[in-house]
Each structure stands twice: as C-alpha cells, then as structure tokens.
Amino acid sequence: MLLQVSDLTVRYGRTIQGLADVDVDVPPGSVTAVLGANGAGKSTLLRAISNTLPLHRGKVTSGSITLEGRDLAKLDPAEIVMAGVVQVPEGRQVFTTMSVEENLRAGGLIVAKEKREPARDRVFELFPRLAERRTQRAGLLSGGEQQMLAMGRALMSSPRLLLLDEPSLGLAPKMITLIGEIIREINAAGTAVLLVEQNAAMALKVAEDVVVLEVGRLALKGRAADVKDSPELAALYLGGHGDSQDDTLSESAEGTDAEPATPVARRTLSKWQG
C-alpha cells in the first residue's frame, strides 16, 4: 500500500468526534474515492493525513497513518509535502492576491530549484488555460480555473499522492467532466490520487476503489465497478439511475449536497454495515 490509514479516530476540541475507527488504503498509482454527505468527515480525513488538524483545533486520538510504512503522524505538514503527499484543500484556497505564476511558485518552494521549471512546464501543459492567464491575479479567475490552479499548485512539488478535497464543488457540469479527465491524466502520469467527492458520478468514473463515510464512520468499501452498480449507492447519490455516464448525470449528482441526501444515506448505508 502507498498510503495506509488504520483505525483513525479524530476529535475536534474536547468532545466533537470527526472520525471514528476509519480505515482507508490507497494502492500505488491508483485513484481512490472517498464519498460521503456533508459532515461525514471527508475533509477531516485529509486534514489528518496532511497533519493540519491542529489548525482546526482537531487531533488524532488513535490510529495510524503510514506512507509506504513510514509513520506520517510524526511529521509536520511541510515534511509530509516533502514525503510526496500534497493536498488541494476544499474550496481551492488559491492565493487570491497573487498571480497565477506566483501561486505555482508557492507550490514549488519546497523542492530543489532546478526541479521547479520543469514542474511548471508540466503544469502548463496539463492546464493550458493557466499558461494563458499566468500573470493574472488568482482571485480574478473563474471557479474552474481556480480549481485548475489549486491542482497545478499542488503538482508543483511532483507529489506521489495527491489529495483532492471536492474538486467539483460549485463547478458547472462541463467543467466537472474536464476536471475528472484531468485527474485521470494526472493519475496516468504516475501520481496516486485520494479523491474526496460528493459528486459520486464523477468520482466513480475516475476511481478504482471507493470508500463511503457516514457521520465519521466507514460505511462502505469496495471496487468502484462493484459499488457503481449497487442499487444502494445509486439510490444514495445518483437519484436512481446509476449507470448513466453523461453530463446531465453529473449535474443531478451535483445536487447531492442538498440536505435530503443525508437521511437517505443513513438508511441505505446502515444495511451495508450490517
């Protein structure tokens, strides 16, 4: 396993449980999706991996996170980036006052100087749109472009494992499809991806393995191909037609961050747990 998360329990403050006994594995060179409704603990999982929980007053209380057997818990966020695990946080969080180029530069500060230019060229190759807008302030980019920049910025250090937190959030269906394709391209170039999504349609198209979280617990784990056709997951995320592949589907799936999805999720998934 490239990344192995075992029995992970996370607490925020004194009492709030963010995750309980969660296991997630990412095989080398694969895309693993983490699905779950609002508040399921998806971002918490990524924060635990990147060790940025302290910034949210959170803490890993038990369990382990290892990268090829190396314990990540003892490393600070910078060391984790150096180890090759880089996160694109929820809501992109590009540096809005800085130019596209400066954002990319920020992403490459941690690697040796001679590696930065080739990395930037690769990012521009992957995202020609960013090359066109290289001197523009990141805050003035569209949401899709900001997502590209956030991903490009993370790729500047040539990570072995890319953590993506809801890259489809707030994007139009076409852009979601494009982002999905780009994730596959990134993966094809050898980077493993842990993809957190609410857009199950997009995630299932891209990922090989799937993990579903429900209120901080592991609810379901399996191969994307198997899970995709399961009526339970279809009812949960895809409004009942789970095999459709087109953009309309992504669009309807986008609606899953609406509240009604959650009760359905709980009912359906409790079966899977039993």
Partner: protein, 292 residues
C-alpha cells in the same frame, strides 16, 4: 515657496523614518497576525546598544551593532512568545507585546539614567544651505536610506521565494502549510526585518535634527507614530505603510510650520481618524473587507 520646499523635504525625511517603522510593524502583523506593541522598545534597544558602543567603536560599527541587536531582540521575542503559541489568540499575543514593551523600555530608560545621548554624529546638526533653504542632513540621509531599504524590501517581497512564502502565508495560513511553507521561518524572518528596520529608524530619531532630543523616553514616544502611519496605510498593506509614513511625516511638518508646533502631533491623529471614517481598513488595507 522656499519655506514650503524646506518643510516638504524635511517632512518627507521624517516620513521615511516613520515608513520604516510602520513597514516593520505591518510585516510583523502580516506574517504572524500579531500587533506588535513592543515596536517602540525595539527602537530603544537598537538605540541603546548604538549609543553605548559608539564612543569605543565609532558610529558605523555601533550603528550596525544596534541594528543587529534590534533584529535579534525581535527574533528572540518571536521565538519565545509567538512561535511557540501558533494557535494563540492574536489579542493575547498583542497584550504580551505590551508587557515586553514596558519591561524593555523601563529597563533601558533606567540604564540611561539622566543622560540623553545623541546618535547620528556624522550627519546630525550639520544643515546644508541652498540659497535661503535649509536642509537637515539627517532628514536627507533618512530619505535616502529609507528609499534604498524600502526598494530592497519590495524587491525581496515581490521576487524572492521568501517574499512569495510570506505573502502566501499572510493570505492563507492553511493553504501555505499545505504547500509545505513553514510558518515559523516566515514569521521569524518577518520579526527580524521589523526589528532591523526599527534599529535603523532610531539612528535618525535620536538626533538633534529629528527630535532635538537624544535617546530617551521621547524617542519611544515618537516611534509610536508608526501606529497611526500603519493604520492610515492599512494594517496589512506594505505599500500602505510607506504611504502612511509619508503622510504622517508631511502632516507633522506642514502643521508644525503653518498651524503650530503643538498642534502637529494632534494633526497626525486627526488625519488618522479622518482616513478611518472614510476607509475603515485604511488607504490600502483589506483586513476589514476580507473578515466579513
């Protein structure tokens, strides 16, 4: 007209010194989120080392020592009080700096005793006469030094990796951490720069030309003008600090000349309040807007 030119040049000279102080204050705030109320004591610390060594070592060496001490003093405060509390409430940290300020200032004033030693021997009190205009050498050199340091700072801020890291971390701490940017290095560098700029400023503050007084409690009081300068410019804007410094220097000089010397200190705060009423985040600041 000649008087006006003289007042403007001297005002800008003072403004350059205020700009250095305000810039240091703003950099520290941007990098670490701390309003450093100990800035005035960094000024005294640098000045104290410089005046104590200048008889033995000469002005230049003592000035360098003073500047270095102010930088290291700031670094010490950052390491001991700020870096180890990455999640502390910024208000609590600001209160800590008030404590530092009182301790450092009172101790230096006690050590100075009744002497009020002057700095700036090579330039202080040697005005240049051009026609019937008198330029104070201290102000002219302050203007030149200020321009050079500010230019260097902005070049570093815009172009170097440290500058990128600093701006990234100032804007979004979590995203910067996720890029592997180490907060501690950025904040440490910011405090050193703030301290160094304060150490440079005192070389002009504790002079006959600038304040008519040597190193004293008065120097600390003058250094506090850095706060209105930074507030006028916008607390999180480096450009604003420069403009704010210039505005404060000119306001002081012009109101002292054309209204009254007593009013000049008040005028600075009148300007500050006016700016705040029109633009609550200062001329170039963004804090207010982004917090909403």
């Amino acid at each position: 007209m000649n008087t006006f030119i003289q007042v403007m040049v001297n005002g800008l000279g003072k403004g350059a010194v205020y700009a250095l102080l305000a810039l240091g204050f703003v950099i520290i705030f941007k990098a670490s989120g701390v309003l450093n109320f100990a800035h005035g004591s960094f000024v005294l610390l640098g000045g104290y080392v410089a005046v104590r060594t200048q008889d033995d070592l000469g002005f230049t060496v003592s000035a360098i020592l003073g500047v270095a001490t102010a930088g290291l003093g700031a670094l010490f405060i950052e390491r001991v009080l700020v870096a180890r509390r990455p999640l502390a409430d910024p208000i609590a940290l600001a209160l800590l700096t008030i404590g530092v300020d009182v301790i450092l200032t009172e101790e230096i004033i006690r050590r100075l005793g009744v002497e009020l030693p002057f700095l700036g021997r090579p330039y202080d009190g040697k005005p240049i006469q051009v026609g019937d205009i008198t330029f104070f050498r201290t102000q002219l050199i302050a203007l030149a030094v200020g321009a050079v340091l500010v230019t260097l700072f902005f070049l570093a801020f815009r172009l170097t990796g440290w500058g990128v890291a600093m701006r990234a971390q100032a804007e979004n701490r979590e995203a910067a951490a996720l890029m592997g940017i180490r907060r501690g290095r950025v904040t440490a560098a910011a405090w050193v720069i703030g301290g160094v700029l304060a150490g440079v400023a005192v070389l002009f503050l504790a002079t006959q030309d600038f304040s008519g007084s040597g190193l004293s409690r008065g120097t600390h009081a003058i250094a506090l003008v850095a706060f209105p300068a930074a507030i006028i410019g916008g607390l999180d804007s480096t450009e604003g600090a420069i403009v704010g410094g210039a505005i404060v220097g000119l306001t002081e000089a012009l109101s002292a000349q054309y209204i009254s010397f007593e009013f000049s200190k008040v005028a600075v705060y009148v300007v500050m309040l006016t700016v705040l009423i029109v633009r609550p985040s200062g001329l170039f600041g963004t804090r207010e807007r982004t917090r909403v």
